[in-house]
């Protein structure tokens, strides 16, 4: 009965090689989020979708893009990963005013 699923759990990529992380949900929530979390730091919001409306945080690098083809799926594309992009990437969902439900995360390693 997984609610927010992230694939893969671990991703290794090379410096500069595009990578896509995926997230799916069975909760039918209208809001989906992508966070970046580095070791011992707070999760940092990259962007979120309210239904199909995309909202980018002001300090999210252009290197990060996202797609939400339907309610259930959301993708994070990193166009040219740098060493500083190595982190845990967390997907979350929520309704308009409620707690957020997080997936297990994808640990990205950049070689």
């Amino acid at each position: 009965d997984a609610m927010v699923i992230q694939n893969p759990r671990y991703q290794v990529t090379q410096f500069g090689k595009p990578v896509t992380l995926s997230c799916s949900q069975t909760l039918n929530h209208n809001v989906m989020y992508w966070y970046q979390q580095k070791s011992s730091q707070a999760p940092k919001l990259l962007f979120h979708y309210y239904d199909k409306d995309f909202n980018n945080e002001a300090d999210t690098p252009d290197n990060f893009q996202s797609r939400r083809p339907n309610t259930s799926f959301c993708f994070l594309d990193i166009r040219s990963p740098g060493l500083g992009d190595a982190a845990m990437y967390l997907c979350a969902t929520s309704t308009r005013e409620s707690e957020q439900f997080f997936g297990p995360g994808t640990r990205l390693t950049v070689l």
Binding site: V4, N30, V31, S40, Q41, A42, P43, K44, L45, H48, Y49, Y50, D53, N55, M88, L90, A92, S94, T95, R96, E97, S98, E99, Q100, F101, F102, G103, P104, G105, R107
Partner: protein, 114 residues
Amino acid sequence: SQKIEQNSEALNIQEGKTATLTCNYTNYSPAYLQWYRQDPGRGPVFLLLIRENEKEKRKERLKVTFDTTLKQSLFHITASQPADSATYLCALDHNNNAGNMLTFGGGTRLMVKP
């Protein structure tokens, strides 16, 4: 600038004692505050939500207080158990028409020793 501060040093307590974690914030006027638990290598898990007009909220062994004058929330775990060992994150909302937005503090790591 806006800040959310949680004690970055680990909190070590003995099993059975009450753990108290602090979340202080500046330059926010949140409508509500949330607490999450995060285990190593996992996503955060929601624990409690407290609204600005609520002073205290309880759930089983957990208690959260919210003082909007002091700009502080306290998170208590009574009768702590080794299984409570984790990092606890507080998060403040900045709700807007674009959805339910949270900003997280850096978390406090709790270690409960048997």
